[in-house]
Symmetry: C2
């Protein structure tokens, strides 16, 4: 199935979705954030087919989320490490997971992390970069209407 | 192509991805957040095929993100309005878009919104719900290792 080419849409959400919008990709990024780097370890963690995993990893490399480096010459083996762009997407994944924990989980989160900055379990919250209040749809209005 | 059933994975990110992880769904939610409610308006906004749109809307209703109500009996016409669960996902979409604005956009954001709380243009930032510092991968560690 050929999908639409969202990468050309003039909308950052569409372009982001174009990179991460498939079922495996966010989970590959989750594993990369946990320190998984090799094809075999991604494969074992996710149980995804080798063919699909290859495609998704290559796509993430192509889009600048992961960097691929050779670490063994015979046999040829590569390591996949998050780029700064990929690392910067981790808080977005955490916001997605926090939403899921709130609305659709029926067990405790299996991957719990500590925020070293404060020592507490890290739970993501999305706030306004200006006033730092939590963002909520009811507090938003189109910018042009408000002008 | 039958995909895996992530809804049964014990991971909130996987379950979230199971609901929103396809290319059209986040954009449908974006439009719903902007006040689009009718099938025809979603169709016109996104240019998605009617068949795909029907499937995605039904899936979002089934998963509690949108509520479907009849507003015309002849012909039968429905309105799709965000539930509280759907509304609560909007900040996550905004975090995705803010990341895209930073890393992959080459034009100004086309859908700009004002945060009525402070009057500034709303840009999402993902912070720790406890200490309110911006979350970054480098400040995280597994909870069990830290114990």
């Amino acid at each position: 199935m050929k999908r639409n080419d969202f990468s050309q849409w003039d909308c950052s959400l569409a372009r982001t979705v174009d990179i991460i919008g498939d079922w495996w990709t966010p989970l590959i990024l989750r594993d990369a954030a946990r320190g998984v780097t090799t094809f075999e370890d991604f494969h074992q963690s996710l149980g995804v087919s080798r063919n699909t995993l290859t495609q998704r990893l290559n796509r993430l490399v192509e889009h600048g989320m992961l960097e691929k480096t050779l670490y063994s010459d015979r046999p040829k083996r590569y390591r996949y490490v998050m780029t700064a762009q990929g690392v910067d997407f981790v808080p977005v994944l955490m916001a997605m997971a926090a939403w899921g924990d709130k609305w659709i989980a029926d067990t405790a989160p299996p991957f719990r992390v500590r925020h070293k900055t404060c020592g507490a379990e890290a739970t993501a919250r999305v706030v306004c970069a200006c006033c730092e209040a939590p963002l909520a749809l009811s507090d938003l209005e189109p910018l042009d209407e408000a002008a």
